[in-house]
């Protein structure tokens, strides 16, 4: 039921594009629930989406422009930006400036940025963090289909009889799609799920078969599959009239040496048999495929198998890329990447350029692709880019060789950053920081992974003087002299223009066409899948009819051969570094890190390491690990687990300098890119690993925001404060540290065991605990959740580090929505005789809201059942 106060909008996070209903509470906060009428999620939300309300507000926000670190008027800041860009262009040409934008911009923002750079500045130097996310899919789609077209829709996942997940931890990265798949499988247990991933992840829980393929060898596996499709006469001959190049692709496929994949041949056989023997196959792929120096080839190796079997664009069939950002797809549609034009037209095609240029009444339009993300920052480092404008993204954290990115930006003549906060790393090196509106304040559209355009609506007034990105860009455009082209008054106007442009572009018969939305009631627009043609006709799925968008009209099966990851393990760097997301954080934590709930699931940056490697390196299971690459170092908490292969390491991507001393994994990632897509190989760097030789470890919980100064620290938000991990290589003055962390507030309760190097302090102010600090020589074995919950309590016996027996320790949070800990769940399973995930839900509510923790609940159940079986 909706009330007058309810506003329909779209979630801020991944590319699933879930519909939400937000209720502003009138005090600057909002309450969020899933929109049962949105086709992407049908009411479901994940842990992150459910906690969206925790992330809005003015905490940490920049409320007025900054010029050289000082508050400035908008007028001054905007004129400075316009003048600096104009001067650079005048002196060094249009290619001396660049925009680096984001898959979190709305389509309207993106459209204006792309128009300003390509149509008026006259350069194609606009690229986006989507380059890090799905550029290989774009390239693979274009090679195979002629356009960047996602053929299928989400319902195919539910209608398939086999879902193959490649390089996708769907359970954590696209939880609502995972939930849809899980429910479908629960209804039809013969829906088979095969999970291809070097790691055993939360997603593996639902899989009937997990293939722990060696990092970077997916092409070999899919080439093997393709060869077997031929071998077993599973090629759909009737479809081959629509495909060219299959013979050459098969030729290459037959040459593949499966041994490099490191798989059990029986598992491979099961995979091949399942694929060959099942008509309705959906292959979902994500960053494990894309973020590779062979990403584009991997995409094509997957598509090849679907083309060979003709399983594309039909119910329950097809290759399916799932994107990581809320509007990566919208960015692709407006052409907001360096090698795109607009509306899926090509920069290299003169007629395409002319159509767009005429429509924009643009003075100029670039003939060549601009610099892709990694190259763009290399050009900055070389001094070729004189002025860069970074919007809504934090490349000092997210780009490979991130320390080098910082150095490049520090040396750049003029850096503009539009962001919510001045605390993000990139904003700190900017000459001008422009306060942009945040998710809950913006108004526009986004496109999700199955081509649904949804409205994102304003829920709250802009914080302080912040302005919308489209408005800021337009204003700069006007100040650069293009008054008329950038005279937009609203996102609706921009959308209308974009739809009109798509009508012009539709003359080329490409996939993208929203001309049917030119006169749509923008305010009331319902989620709509493109294309929507001028006559109102739509296409639910592409390519079942065999009509592709290549010049020949045929799909291309692309001949691909295995290329290993570019960086090679060597004695100095013997470990392969894989990276990825975790369940309850997103990107660089600027939003999800604001939520205490979301910060409890995995509160510290970590590295997953195989037990054999940990033993070999002498790494304490609760200790810290130092990773070194040629480009930088990181210090991370060890998580010793056989979920990663021996020789592989896994580190999450999220941590920044705001949350940890040395947690930016991209400081380690080598700037190697796919030669076609330019997408960095983020999941296959090489590093050295050793124990971080701390002589003391600390854990603190504080009410106030303190900046620890020691060799290692990391912090996470908790209700009303922070939890902080600390460690040092050199001896620490305990009293001094206590002073720093506890801030000299109130009276101090202490516990010391000098002989063991243990010191613990609790600061109590007006009868309530305002901070605690634990110090020891060894990694601390404490109930950190219990300690975190002590803030504001009256009992200094929290210094025991664990609850007393009549107050059980909930353990690390599993269910973020209801804050249910692992011990609570295990006890309930054992004492309540719970037999299923649903039983747990009924008993504890865990898993009953967003369901993102269900895979973990299932694992806990299995653990208990194994134990009982053993007894």
């Amino acid at each position: 039921m909706t009330t007058a106060n309810d506003i329909r909008s779209t979630c801020a996070y991944c590319g699933v594009g879930c519909g939400i209903i937000a209720t502003p509470n009138g005090d600057g906060s909002i309450t969020v629930r899933g929109d049962t009428e949105h086709p992407a999620n049908l009411g479901r939300l994940c842990s992150k989406g459910s906690a969206l309300g925790d992330t809005v507000g003015t905490t940490e926000r920049l409320l007025a422009p900054l010029v050289k670190g000082k508050s400035a008027e908008w007028d001054e800041a905007l004129s400075l930006v316009a003048n600096k860009f104009k001067a650079a262009i005048a002196e060094h040409g249009p290619d001396s400036v660049a925009f680096y934008v984001s898959g979190q911009l709305l389509t309207e923002d993106y459209y204006v940025a792309n128009k300003l750079m390509k149509g008026f500045i006259g350069s194609a130097n606009i690229d986006t963090n989507s380059r890090l996310c799905m550029a290989s899919t774009v390239a693979g789609h274009k090679r195979a289909f002629g356009t960047d077209t996602v053929p299928g829709i989400y319902a195919d996942i539910e209608q398939a009889d086999l879902v193959v997940l490649v390089g996708s931890n769907l359970a954590w990265c696209h939880p609502v799609l995972y939930q849809r798949l899980a429910s479908a499988k629960a209804e039809r247990p013969n829906l088979k799920v095969i999970n291809i991933d070097p790691r055993r992840t939360a997603t593996s829980d639902i899989a009937d078969l997990h293939l722990p393929v060696r990092i970077g060898t997916d092409v070999v596996l899919f080439n093997h599959l393709l060869a077997q499709i031929e071998e077993r006469s599973a090629i759909d001959a009737s479809f081959q009239g629509h495909v060219s190049g299959l013979d050459k692709a098969l030729e290459a496929a037959r040459e593949s040496d499966l041994s490099v994949c490191g798989l059990d041949p029986r598992d491979v056989e099961e995979f091949v048999q399942s694929f060959v023997g099942t008509e309705k196959v959906v292959t979902i792929f994500s960053q494990g495929v894309n973020q590779s120096s062979a990403g584009t080839d991997k995409v094509n190796s997957i598509i090849n198998c679907h083309l060979a079997t003709g399983r594309i664009g039909k119910k329950g069939m097809g290759p399916f890329s799932v994107t990581g950002q809320p509007n990566a797809m919208g960015g692709r549609e407006v052409g907001g990447l360096a090698n795109m034009l607009a509306c899926h037209l090509d920069l290299e095609v003169p007629e395409h350029r002319k159509t767009v240029q005429d429509f924009w009444k643009a003075e100029t339009i670039p003939e060549r692709a601009g610099l892709k993300a990694v190259d763009m920052f290399k050009a900055v480092a070389k001094g070729k880019i004189k002025a860069i404008w970074i919007m809504c993204t934090n490349p000092i954290v997210s780009l490979p060789e991130a320390d080098g990115i910082r150095a490049a930006l520090e040396a750049c003549d003029f850096v503009v950053v539009s962001d919510l906060s001045a605390e993000v790393e990139t904003a700190k090196v900017a000459d001008v920081v422009l306060p942009a509106t945040g998710w809950g304040e913006k108004d526009g559209t986004v496109t999700n992974s199955d081509r649904i355009i949804s409205r994102q609506r304003q829920l709250l007034p802009p914080a302080g003087q912040s302005r919308h990105d489209w408005d800021i860009i337009s204003e700069v455009g006007r100040r650069m002299g293009w008054e008329e082209a950038f005279s937009y008054a609203s996102p609706a106007e921009i959308f209308k223009e974009f739809a009109e442009l798509s009508a012009e572009c539709a003359l080329y018969g490409r996939d993208f066409d929203i001309s049917g939305l030119v006169d749509v009631d923008y305010e009331e627009m319902l989620p709509t899948r493109w294309p929507v043609r001028a006559d109102g006709s739509q296409t639910e799925r592409f390519f079942a009819d065999g009509a592709f968008f290549t010049p020949s009209g045929k799909a291309n099966a692309v001949s691909v051969t295995f290329r290993d990851a570019v960086t090679r393990r060597e004695p100095k760097y013997p470990y392969r570094l894989n990276t990825g997301r975790i369940r309850d954080q997103w990107h660089t934590m600027t939003r999800s890190g604001l939520s205490a709930k979301l910060s409890q699931h995995l509160p510290e940056p970590f590295v997953e390491i195989h037990p054999t490697d940990a033993t070999k390196l002498g790494i304490d299971p609760k200790g810290l690990v130092e990773l070194t690459a040629p480009s930088g170092t990181a210090i991370l908490r060890a998580r010793v687990t056989d979920k990663v292969l021996q020789g592989d390491l896994f580190v999450p991507i999220h941590w920044t300098d705001v949350f940890a001393s040395n947690g930016r994994v991209d400081a380690l990632v080598q700037a190697v890119v796919d030669p076609i897509s330019g997408q960095p190989e983020s999941k296959a760097s090489v590093v050295a690993a050793k124990p971080f030789e701390a002589i003391w470890h600390g854990f603190a919980v504080t009410k106030s925001d303190v900046a620890p100064k020691c060799d290692y620290w990391s912090r996470a938000r908790i209700e009303d404060g922070w939890r902080i991990e600390l460690a040092g290589r050199t001896s620490c003055d305990v009293e001094e540290l206590a002073c720093l962390v506890l801030g000299g507030q109130g009276e101090v309760v202490s516990y010391t065991d000098e002989a063991s190097g243990i010191a613990r302090f609790a600061a109590v102010d007006e009868g309530k605990i305002v901070g605690v600090l634990f110090i020891g020589r060894e990694p601390l074995k404490l109930s950190k959740e219990f300690i975190s919950s002590s803030l504001g309590s009256m009992d200094p016996l929290v210094l025991a580090g664990r609850p007393s027996q009549d107050m059980p320790d909930p353990g690390p949070t599993v269910c973020s929505c209801f804050s249910v800990g692992v011990n609570t769940i295990l006890t309930a399973i054992q004492e309540g005789g719970l037999m299923s995930v649903d039983d747990i839900g009924r008993a504890l509510r865990a898993g009953t809201n967003c369901g993102s923790c269900k895979p973990e609940l299932a694992v806990l159940l299995a653990q208990c059942q194994n134990l009982q079986a053993a007894e």
Binding site: Y751, V764, L797, A800, G801, R802, Q805
Partner: protein, 421 residues
């Protein structure tokens, strides 16, 4: 039947005769007591003084109790001599012979022999009479009272006297209170607590003389401070064992009557126990080891083998609102390590002293509920390295499995148990 004579009806004798009469008695027993009453719980004199208990409530074995067990009571009759040769005890009202004799004469308050100590109004704090005098005068005729001695007994006396409306000053000749039971940190918290209820505490007090007029005490002179008015002076500065009978009987003496591990004196037919003995160089002032001795003497009298092993002792201060516990070697020393918890807000203090991974001492101020647990750990000599991190916080913070393993006997395969768990 053999004749057994017991001299003294204190807590040691009471407990001894309990044990003895539980067995089939082979003895005809006679018990002498200088005080005109049976056995009472001397430890509870402080609550009587403070008014929390009545005298009747602390009597544990009255004459009826003894007589019901066939024991002849000669209460109010002092023993004046012993002749080991003829095995005779001489009471004020007549002699009696014995086959076995038990000397349990206890101790007396040590009255420091400074100038004025014989004045009227200078008393010890040892027995019902002392207590009764304080009850009768404090806040009624004695408004200013000085307690000499800031140990267990002195502080209990001070608190009781204060509760009865007197202005009380405690003089302690050491740097901090209860120095035999507490470390300095705990003693400081205690001092604050005592002072906060209105009792004056002077540490490092060198008492020079007791002032008096007309044979009656009027005040006290302490070095370096103004003279203090006093209507009553209570000496709680230690005890002296009552050894005169034993000495006169020619028994071997040390600082008290010497006994062996069987608690026999140099005369094998004479046993001694309680505060009047010295065993293996050690003397005894607390009830726990004395009850142990009572059991041993009973066993020996019944002809069984039994030897006395001195155990660590624990102490509790019985002053309402100043809960204190101490046990074992709480003051550190070579090779010891201390776990210290300080909570100035709730006036809680704990120190646990560890040596070779075993608890050898503990001091608690404030919440003393876990005192006995620490005492058990000391006595069990339990290996505590597994629970060291949470030890000081008490049993409620221990893993139940580890906890039960702590007190397991030697032959329990703890390691295996833990491996299975």
């Amino acid at each position: 039947m053999k004749k057994l004579v017991v001299i003294g009806a204190g807590m040691a004798s009471g407990r001894l005769l309990e044990h003895l009469t539980e067995a089939t008695s082979q003895y005809e027993v006679t018990i002498f007591n200088a005080e005109p009453r049976g056995t009472y719980n001397r430890i509870m004199l402080s609550p009587v003084l403070s008014g929390e208990k009545l005298l009747d409530e602390i009597i544990t074995h009255n004459a009826e109790w003894y007589e019901a067990r066939g024991i002849t009571c000669r209460f109010g009759e002092k023993v004046v001599g012993i002749d080991p040769q003829s095995k005779t005890v001489f009471g004020e009202k007549g002699a009696t012979s014995y086959d076995k004799l038990v000397i349990a004469t206890g101790s007396s308050s040590f009255i420091i022999p400074i100038e004025g100590h014989t004045l009227d109004g200078v008393i010890g704090y040892r027995d019902v009479e002392d207590t009764q005098r304080m009850v009768d005068t404090a806040g009624k005729t004695a408004f200013d009272i000085v307690v000499i001695g800031g140990g267990l007994l002195g502080l209990e006396a001070a608190a009781g006297l204060h509760a009865r409306g007197a202005r009380v000053t405690v003089l302690h000749n050491m740097p901090y209170l209860m120095n035999r039971q507490l470390d300095e940190a705990a003693a400081q918290i205690l001092k604050s607590a005592i002072e906060s209820r209105g009792i004056r505490v002077v540490c490092d007090a060198n008492t020079q003389k007791i002032l008096g007029e007309n044979g009656k005490v009027t005040g006290i002179q302490v070095e370096g401070i103004d003279p203090i008015n006093a209507d009553l002076v209570v000496m709680a500065a230690g005890i002296r064992p009552n050894v005169e009978l034993g000495k006169a009987a020619g028994l071997e003496m040390g600082r008290a009557i010497k006994v062996n591990h069987s608690l026999q004196t140099s005369d094998p037919d004479i046993f001694a126990l309680g505060e009047c003995i010295e065993c293996n160089g050690e003397m005894f002032g607390l009830v726990a080891p004395i009850f142990d001795q009572a059991k041993i003497v009973a066993e020996r009298l019944l002809g069984r083998q039994a030897t006395f092993e001195s155990q660590e002792v624990s102490t509790k201060l019985k002053v309402t609102g100043c809960d204190l516990f101490s046990a074992g070697q709480f003051d550190g020393g070579e090779g010891t390590e201390a776990l210290v918890y300080k909570d100035p807000i709730n006036a809680n203090y704990r120190k646990v002293v560890i040596k070779d991974d075993r608890v050898i001492g503990a001091v608690i101020y404030g919440d003393t509920r876990d005192g006995n647990w620490f005492f058990d750990l000391i006595q069990a000599k339990a290996e505590i390295s597994e629970i060291r991190e949470t030890l000081v916080f008490g049993p409620a913070f221990q893993d139940p499995d580890l906890l039960s393993a702590l007190f397991a006997t030697e032959d329990t395969p703890n390691e295996e148990l833990r491996a299975i768990a």
